[in-house]
Point group: C2
């Protein structure tokens, strides 16, 4: 990217330490706010606080708006009321709402006290919508037009109001607050200035209800390929708009959360390097402990088969191989289905189609892996690499049959659990790969030892 | 969403079967192309082919452009040359390139033969950029302005050319092909019509080189929050633009691929329900087989400790618990780091900071889980639920110490592998959770049995 110079946080820190304020102001002013924010985010907190005090308010606001949430919180906690309020005011209402949501309550109270209520009203309104809905990410700063205006009048209105709007690429025609049409600025520019807005050609209106989940908002954007979508209430009143670049952030966050859940942790909510040690332990240790308790059942299960194990210790050797194959096939299908459900490529009603696919896939893969296992055992025996005893063929057959059962069970469990979770109103991604693996480990052991006692009955058992 | 009626594929299929062409044309014409495409995608292929033959070309083209890639391929394979070319021509050059990329070679040849070369030139040009780069997703349909034009002249130019551009929200000022500034249509509308373009205020220019990876393009968009970014070559010549809604699709695809790799499959490249059985087997079976071969080493490892196992079968009972805990902590850290690297929250140079975090986290979690394991064993013994023999305390200590080692090893391996893969030029997501788990399984067994032979030496061993 051009626009990023050779400036790094240490240089800035030096300018700050040496109190070269003019140079500082000039340096920061020459950057895109995003680039400046990136450098500022790397500064120690005290240096950043000093920097924000000496920057012109407009520059400070623009840079502040681009800082990562964690740096914004840190700065606001460090600044006193009077300095903080103009920074908050530099944010768009959706970003204000997000920030107020995440700040410690005591800082929020201080800020809310210092800023005129009228300025924060829009942010407070957004905070009224449930977490994770379209209402939370929309911005109320759109340009509204009246249906009986001419294109020329509308353009004049855009000229006057463009500065306070977040996006003027799409304009909204309202009739008593009800959204009746969407016009692009381009269409307005191209139109005959004397034409009435309600006579201009429009494409079918696509709207998003304020209560729609943000995941569905992302899917709606992916489907309709538009730069912005209007958000309406139940009666069709326009509440705000969501822009494609905000949705990109939402989509990235959702994918991150989903991956982290799939990987068997709680969503971190912050960049890895910024998570403090206690939170890291809590978010990973919680799930690890639950999985550990689940996995304790494997010890219980193996306890039941202690007799078989003592008679044929050779059986113990294939325990990791058997249960991990079940876990791997389970985490494959869980991952595939969690993502497909999130992208709405697969819907709840498709569960039986998925079941059929997984039965077929699991069976085939199980037969294949089982064959590999059988060949391995027989080959090692024949090549003299290991002695599995007199009944090595039976041991091989046990491993083969068990793998068919375990891989089949893993694929089916891994694929059906996300449906079950969604059906019960949970995030399907909670059916993390490790969770499925634990489930399959315990049942895999039971399958293995039951097959062994059938195949080896009257022989080594 | 409004705009979607109560029409489903079966109704359409009925209209087609009964040859009610006029009703069909009218029904399809009333929908947003995206909604129409969704219904058409559910039709059997023959019905879809018939439908496209009777639709007005413009409608057919618009609907075709919104179909999922797999349906587009299917349709083109079903239509003869003359019918296919106008559908291809309805696509933007970036979508043409994507489609030509994915079609079977013989269909591509037929289409390339039927369409005038000039029409496909833009798509061919895009195909000249390496797979997965910015060049492949940009569109050459932007509006270019000259620096010595006035705002009024520029607006007139936009009026004349708006129809053939993919986006006119941002306009590009070129000096002999070199990009010198970016103007929003809004800025042009607001400006004094007599002002020269090079006198208008602009914000710092952010550009993307054509060779930038699509992953980095997504991160650039996420950082700068703009509706479109210009793509340039090494000398600053403007090659095309990338719009935010196209980037959303790229971001979603990348997250999907990354998740699928993390879950231990190859990227499916198509929606789950549309993948044919052979591909499903190949993409899952390949990795499963590799993991299975890796996991075979567990049998080898346990073979080495056959003596210990025969003397103390009780050790076998905790094998699944030990190795799965290592696998779970490994897949946690692998998932966290893969995602952080993808989002560039963590960079290669941060590896040692991550190592320190994981050493600390792994150690703490290992001690905690080990304690749970110890308590479980002692409690079961004391409560008479299971008899772990005379040396149950030593068994408990063995489990505790092993868990510390295994969880620590899992966390460190899981977190460092993504760095190693990135350093060697591979996708870090290839360090799938199952892959790390397999690595840790084998080493976990070795840790466990070595600890056991030290702790139990001279007792049960």
């Amino acid at each position: 990217m051009s626009g990023i110079g050779r400036l790094f946080a240490p240089d800035l820190a030096e300018l700050i330490a040496e109190k070269r304020w003019d140079e500082l102001r000039e340096t920061i002013g020459g950057f895109d706010a995003s680039d400046a924010a990136e450098i500022v985010a790397d500064l120690p907190r005290d240096a950043a606080v000093t920097l924000f005090r000496i920057l012109p308010r407009e520059t400070a606001g623009a840079v502040f708006a681009q800082l990562p949430a964690s740096s914004q919180e840190e700065l606001l906690t460090g600044l006193t009321g009077g300095d903080a309020d103009y920074l908050i005011r530099a944010l768009t209402p959706d970003d204000q709402a997000r920030l107020l949501d995440e700040l410690p309550a005591e800082v929020t109270r201080r800020i809310l006290g210092a800023i005129p209520p009228a300025e924060l009203q829009a942010a407070r309104d957004l905070l009224g919508y449930p977490h994770g809905t379209a209402g939370r990410v929309m911005t109320p700063r759109y340009v509204a037009l009246k249906p009986d205006w001419t294109a020329g009048q509308a353009l004049d209105h855009v000229r006057r109001t463009a500065r306070s709007a977040e996006s003027v690429d799409l304009l909204y025609v309202l009739n008593n607050g009800r959204l009746t049409a969407e016009l692009s600025l381009a269409a307005l520019v191209v139109a005959d200035p004397a034409a009435r807005l309600d006579s201009l050609p429009t494409r079918p209106l696509v709207t998003v209800p304020a209560t729609m989940s943000q995941g569905d908002v992302v899917q709606t954007f992916a489907k309709y390929d538009r730069p912005a979508l209007p958000v309406v209430d139940g009666t069709g009143q326009l509440l705000g708009i969501i822009t494609a670049d905000d949705v990109l952030d939402v989509a990235q966050d959702q994918a991150t959360e989903s991956m982290q859940r799939l990987g068997g942790t709680e969503a971190l909510d912050h960049p890895y390097l910024e998570v403090n040690f206690r939170d890291m332990l809590k978010k990973r240790g919680g799930w690890l402990s639950i999985l550990f308790f689940g996995e304790m059942l494997t010890a219980t299960a193996m306890g039941y088969f202690q007799g078989e194990l003592e008679k044929a210790v050779v059986l113990a050797m294939f325990v990791p191989l058997i249960i991990s194959s079940g876990g791997n096939s389970g985490s494959q299908s869980a991952t595939l289905l969690v993502r497909s459900l999130a992208l709405t490529e697969v819907r709840l009603r498709d569960w039986w189609r998925v079941l059929l696919i997984e039965l077929r896939t699991g069976l085939t893969l199980g037969v294949w892996l089982g064959m590999l296992g059988f060949v391995r055992i027989v080959a090692w025996q024949k090549l003299g690499l290991f002695d599995y005893g007199e009944f090595f063929v039976e041991v091989g057959v046990t491993v083969w049959i068990s793998l068919v059962g375990v891989v089949l069970f893993g694929s089916v469990t891994g694929s059906m659990l996300p449906f079950l979770l969604r059906k019960c109103g949970f995030d399907p991604a909670t059916s993390s790969a490790p969770f499925v693996a634990t489930l399959v480990d315990v049942s895999g052991l039971v399958i293995y030892f039951v097959v062994a006692s059938l195949v080896l009955a009257g022989k080594s058992l």
